[in-house]
Amino acid sequence: MTARDELPVQGEHQTLSRGHVGRADPRPNAKRLLQGRGVYIDDLRLPRLAHVVFVRSPHAHARIVSIDSSRARRSPGIIAVFDGPAIAQVCKPWVGVLGHLKGIRSPTQYPLAMERACWQGEPVVAIVGETRAEAEDARDLVEIQWEPLPVLVDMEAALAGLPVLHPELGDNICFERTVDTGDIDAIFAAADLVVEETFHFGRHTGVCPEGRAILADYNPAEHSLTVHHATQAPHMIHDILARHLDIPEANVRVICHDVGGAYGIKVHVYPDEMCTAAVSMLVRRPVKFQADRMESFVSDIHAREHKATVRLAATRDGRILGFDLRDLTAIGPYSVYPRTSGIEGNQVVNLTGGPYRHSHYRARMHAVFTNKNVTCQYRAVGHPIAVAITEGIVDLAAQRLSIDPVEFRRRNLIPDDAYPYAFPSGIRFEKLSHHQCLDKLLELMDYEALRADQARARERGCYRGIGLAAMIEVTNPSAAFYGVGGARISSQDGATLRLEPTGALTVLCSVTEQGQGTETVFAQIAADTVGVSMDKVRVITGDTATTPYGGGTWGSRGAGIGGEAVLQSGRALRANILDAAAAILACDRATLDVADDAVIDRLTLRSLLTLAELGRSCYYRPDTLPAGFQSELMVTRHYVPRDYAFAFTNGIQASWVEVDIDTGFVKLLGHWCVEDCGTVINPLLVDEQLRGGVVQGLGAALFEECRYDQEGQMLNAQLGDYLVPMAGEMPDIVCGHVQTPTRTSELGAKGAGEAGTAGAPAAVMNAINDALAPLAARVTVQPFTPERILAALGRV
């Protein structure tokens, strides 16, 4: 061992690694899942467990005239039936606004609809039964008289206030944001080239394999509430349950077990879940709610319903001067609590034009209320929109100037030596690597060979296309994301490390696991920083009664923020181990180090004392240690990014497609993704994060859309009708990495979980349009269904 282990890990020629960080270790916690021995909420068995189901509004907008639940109450196995006012007695309502989103507004929202329902799927009545089947039987017996109200589904009509959905607000604008760096009209008027395009993005949703689920267990004797919850943010939920149900914070506990997919869907407060906790208090029993697939489609948050018109001005030689954006998005009848539904549009404004040097930017965005299901933050929040409109308009400009799309990007991507760099709109980048990533991508995909293949294919009437999508991504968010706006959402995370008497290491971390591999990377970091082997490390997450306080898993923050907390905690524990070893061995601490589960001599590398022996002495025979020495073999450290609001990452993707111009079908021939997420802790896991993300983006580009009719009825609210990507349609995806560690932490890791989803739709869109270019056809409406492609070709 050398002194380098005491130095910041990312100094020149430094790495953290003693072998674990950077290694493709499989996930120890995946073994139970492979035997069907995981525990999801619906797998829990508690004594006296009751089941709650919901009557949901069949109307997109209607007044509740009366509710008759007398027959339901008399149905076998029914424990209780509650309506909105009954639940409001124990659960305070909420308003989904934040202080830093200036001017954002939303009406008060209750767990169950009070006087009217504002979207099809809004929960109205809760039925509690001994079994789920009995509760569902009784659901059919609840009689509700409805008075239908005018339904608002169109974004433009909503913006025009026709009609106003919440009269107390005066109009339908939830949130608007404007950015203007000045002089844009003059710049565009004088530019050699101005291109303009309008892009439409269909609503889609996360479709978690496991529906949302919560099991609330109220104990009236203690006035305490234990909640088993499929959530990404247990401490946030803990705080909200305590405040809205008026239970002391110390009497609440939130436990996450295995979570069957989350992707941002499970980080919000849902009315039916709050209602379930309230019901547990009212019936004084544990109560479970497990969303089924059909109610998931009309009650899980949706995302991405946008119409964006973008203009780009450039010089004749292909230098981008500025972007001009007008974005309209519909968020449903309420802004979702507590993160609000303003963030996605806000991100579109922040990120459009993001990879490119430019001096002028103007953006205007409106988020409006409609009578569809609510929208909120789903994986990659705003990025897929911003990347698609940026990359779409960039390709159009390149085409108009007859410049190859690669060359056009080379001329405009922010140079790799230009950092730190700031946009006129105020966004600051620590260090990005656009050009390195582009070079790597071209090498991986063999760009020239694909162009040659494309030309040959065209000669035989086969239309293939290449699409590129460069991107920037918000990761490792600081308090600037939510905390400054008044949200009680922690941007700080903590890790506790405890050396056990056997030399094993227990890690407790506030970041949670939904399968990404957070527990595994924490074990790798802990093993390296303390000096133990991986098999000695056990990681515990997802329990507000035992873990340090923190934000959980969202915003591509788990590895970068939680990982740094583990690293700092590991360093501190190692120092304490050396203190104890020096006391036991009666030698100079500076001569000692920890490696391979033992205290070693720094010079000879000889093992002097195993950690098991050290643990035995400290815990069981402290009487043998020098008087006055107290070992501290459990430490906690926290971390929050402070230097930058976000650790921006960058990356680039490429798609290679074939379009059948007779059927409109798109065949994905290949996909490449190069990403710079800083330090790669585990290449196996990060590549699967990228691939999984890419496939979610491919779904958005080609298949997925929550389709609504003019009455606000979702037309495809079941998995048989809502298309998701399946194995047969998906290509192999080649991943590559450039590593530019952030210097805001010692670990140097930035986020990677959302990159794939952010860039894939733009790459596919550009590839389809490249394929169709000889036919003078373009598509700009996602998803790019066969019908839309044939329409663009003038064939339908």
């Binding site: 995946a30 069907g36 999801y40 990404q516 998906m730």
Partner: protein
């Protein structure tokens, strides 16, 4: 209103089980609720996602599209039984090594589906693997690692079979 319960007798993971069930109860609900075999999951309850895949008389079925009463007199195998028998241990190992799962919710169904391919198509190509598992929805992995793991297992089984024949 539910019909009167019916008595069924079937074999589940090699053990004879006699239970009274509601005629409307699906096989997967019976396995989960009556037998606490929670490894089979409910993903969509209308036959699309494949998370509830189990084996009945050796063939994979969707546990949400079959009634428990239809399993009367038959042999049902779930992920718990198949794991204990070690029959898919090589596939499970390959899934683990390749990280062919994230949240794990689809995994039991995916393993049983892939297990059928291993048994019936030892020379399946990558494209045939993708086709075979196209009725099983995974939202986390993007499928590639799953395809890799199945491909690896097919190859190692072929190698083992070749060695034993030689």
């Amino acid at each position: 209103m539910p019909l009167p319960e019916a008595e069924i007798c079937l074999t589940v993971n090699g053990q004879v089980v006699r239970k009274r069930v509601e005629p409307r109860q699906h096989l997967v609900d019976f396995l989960r609720e009556a037998l606490d075999l929670t490894g089979s999951h409910l993903g969509c309850e209308h036959g699309v996602c494949g998370a509830c895949t189990v084996r009945v008389d050796g063939r994979i079925v969707r546990g949400c599209l079959m009634l428990a009463v239809q399993a009367d007199g038959r042999s049902v195998e779930t992920i718990e039984g198949v794991s204990d028998s070690g029959e898919l241990a090589d596939l499970q190992h390959a899934f683990h090594q390749r990280n062919a799962l994230q949240c794990g919710f689809c995994t039991p169904g995916m393993l049983l589906c892939a297990g059928e391919l291993l048994a019936t198509s030892p020379s399946a190509t990558r494209e045939e693997i993708r086709e075979h598992i196209s009725g099983n929805y995974c939202r986390c992995t993007g499928y590639q690692a799953i395809v890799d793991a199945i491909e690896t297992t097919l190859a190692s089984r072929r190698a083992t079979a070749g060695a034993s024949e030689a």
